[in-house]
């Protein structure tokens, strides 16, 4: 009974937050609403016995996505404020508060949503009550997979190919974001946030802690919830903090080294995937006795790459120009 009450409450809150996140009058509010939405979502994942997803959602879905959106909202708003000062007439034509499209669009959207919703609900309602899916197969082969956590086994062994391509997705997004930055600093550059002593000390304490925790998540991921994505996302959080705190990039972290870090996960994963083929195996077919160390190596490299890429994605959105100090880079 109480569980039901929690479920219904959580779902109602989710829907309400989602609605607010899209349609809150001020865009800043809308964007910030995505944070509790993501956190609640993480709670729901935990409730649905999906702790791996809960961690990832909290770090990536709620944390990083919201950070990206806030940075963007800031950038867009800052520009319009600048614009307003220069020319009020021009700015008012395209105010950020024109939330909804015309009546036509709203009507179409509503009708579409209702129709799709009806169909989907019918489909969901008619799903079989029991469907074990692939868990029997996963269970049966878990001992050969080199990972004790079934999710990790699926991610890095049974369906490792998906994960390999997924790291490529990250790399693609990074290239896409980075190429959009300009050569020269934009006319208005963020200088609002002065160096904060409190933040500084927090960073000094918390970044090493994050590094330890993510190492722990990575190590533990083989047998319990956690793994490369969660660890990488956490590390990226540290990276975001460093960027926000305007930490200078260490000298040894040249652009090429950063690129090497970025590519490390893909290279390691792809290298392992291809190199097992020399012994007549299929792509990604780890020898059983080597499966555990190989997976760990892949995960370690992937963690570094994911962390660096996510950090740089944030950095790329936050700072629209190619400036040497803010190109990101986790420790």
């Amino acid at each position: 009974m109480t569980v039901w009450a929690f479920d219904i409450l959580a779902l109602l809150a989710l829907v309400w937050l989602a609605w607010r996140a899209m349609t809150a009058r001020r865009i800043e509010v809308a964007v910030v609403t995505f944070l509790p939405y993501g956190l609640l979502m993480a709670l729901v994942w935990a409730r649905l016995r999906a702790p791996d997803i809960a961690i990832a959602e909290a770090a990536i879905g709620a944390g990083l996505t919201t950070a990206l959106l806030i940075a963007a909202a800031n950038r867009i708003r800052r520009r319009s404020a600048y614009e307003r000062a220069a020319d009020t007439a021009a700015a008012s034509s395209r105010s950020a508060d024109a939330r909804l499209g015309g009546w036509g669009k709203q009507l179409v959207g509503a009708v579409l949503a209702c129709v799709v919703g009806g169909l989907l609900a019918a489909a969901v309602a008619n799903l079989p009550a029991q469907q074990a899916g692939l868990s029997p197969q996963v269970e049966a082969n878990l001992s050969d997979s080199g990972a004790g956590n079934p999710v990790t086994a699926v991610l890095l062994n049974f369906r490792g190919y998906d994960t390999l391509l997924e790291i490529a997705v990250l790399l693609l997004a990074l290239i896409g974001v980075m190429q959009l930055r300009r050569e020269t600093p934009g006319p208005v550059v963020s200088a609002e946030q002065r160096h904060s002593l409190v933040l500084d000390s927090l960073v000094h304490v918390i970044v090493p802690l994050i590094v330890i925790v993510s190492g722990y998540l990575l190590w533990r991921g083989g047998d319990a919830p956690g793994g490369a994505f969660q660890a990488g996302a956490l590390l990226a959080g540290a990276g975001v903090l460093l960027i926000l705190n305007k930490q200078a990039r260490p000298a040894w972290l040249s652009a090429r080294v950063v690129r090497a870090f970025v590519a490390a996960g893909l290279l390691m994963f792809g290298g392992v995937a291809l190199n097992v083929m020399w012994t007549g195996r299929n792509l990604l077919e780890y020898p059983i006795e080597l499966a555990k160390p190989l997976i760990l190596a892949i995960e370690a490299a992937a963690t570094v790459s994911i962390a660096v890429i996510l950090t740089m994605l944030f950095g790329g959105v936050l700072t629209p120009h190619r400036a040497p100090s803010l190109q990101g880079g986790a420790s």
């Binding site: 002065r194 409190v198 933040l199 927090l202 918390i206």
Partner: protein, 101 residues
């Protein structure tokens, strides 16, 4: 048995702080006071809830981990509060004074 009673007590106390913090968030007149309600009351509430969970946890390590979570939340909350207050101050927001709406 004693442990259950203690953790229940801690949970209720924590909840009370949360309620107080939330009421403060809604009712207080300006950003500084709201921050005050939020960071102090809620952090304390979280501490009690963490304590409750720690008492229920199967091993001492889990209990320590839970407390570590609280410590991190404490640090993060304090820093965030400081940053927001600083920003508000720099933006020229004056603290509320009695008599104002």
């Amino acid at each position: 048995m004693w442990v259950d009673v203690l953790s229940g007590l801690a949970l209720v106390t924590g909840l009370a702080f949360f309620v107080a913090g939330t009421v403060g968030l809604i009712r207080f007149p300006d950003i500084y006071t709201r921050l005050h309600a939020l960071t102090k009351a809620d952090t304390l509430g979280l501490g009690f809830v963490s304590l409750a969970i720690a008492l229920q946890s199967p091993s001492i390590f889990v209990a320590l981990k839970v407390m570590l979570v609280w410590a991190v939340a404490l640090a993060a909350g304090a820093t965030a509060c400081n940053l927001i207050a600083q920003y508000a101050d720099r933006s020229g927001l004056r603290p509320w004074e009695r008599g104002e709406p």
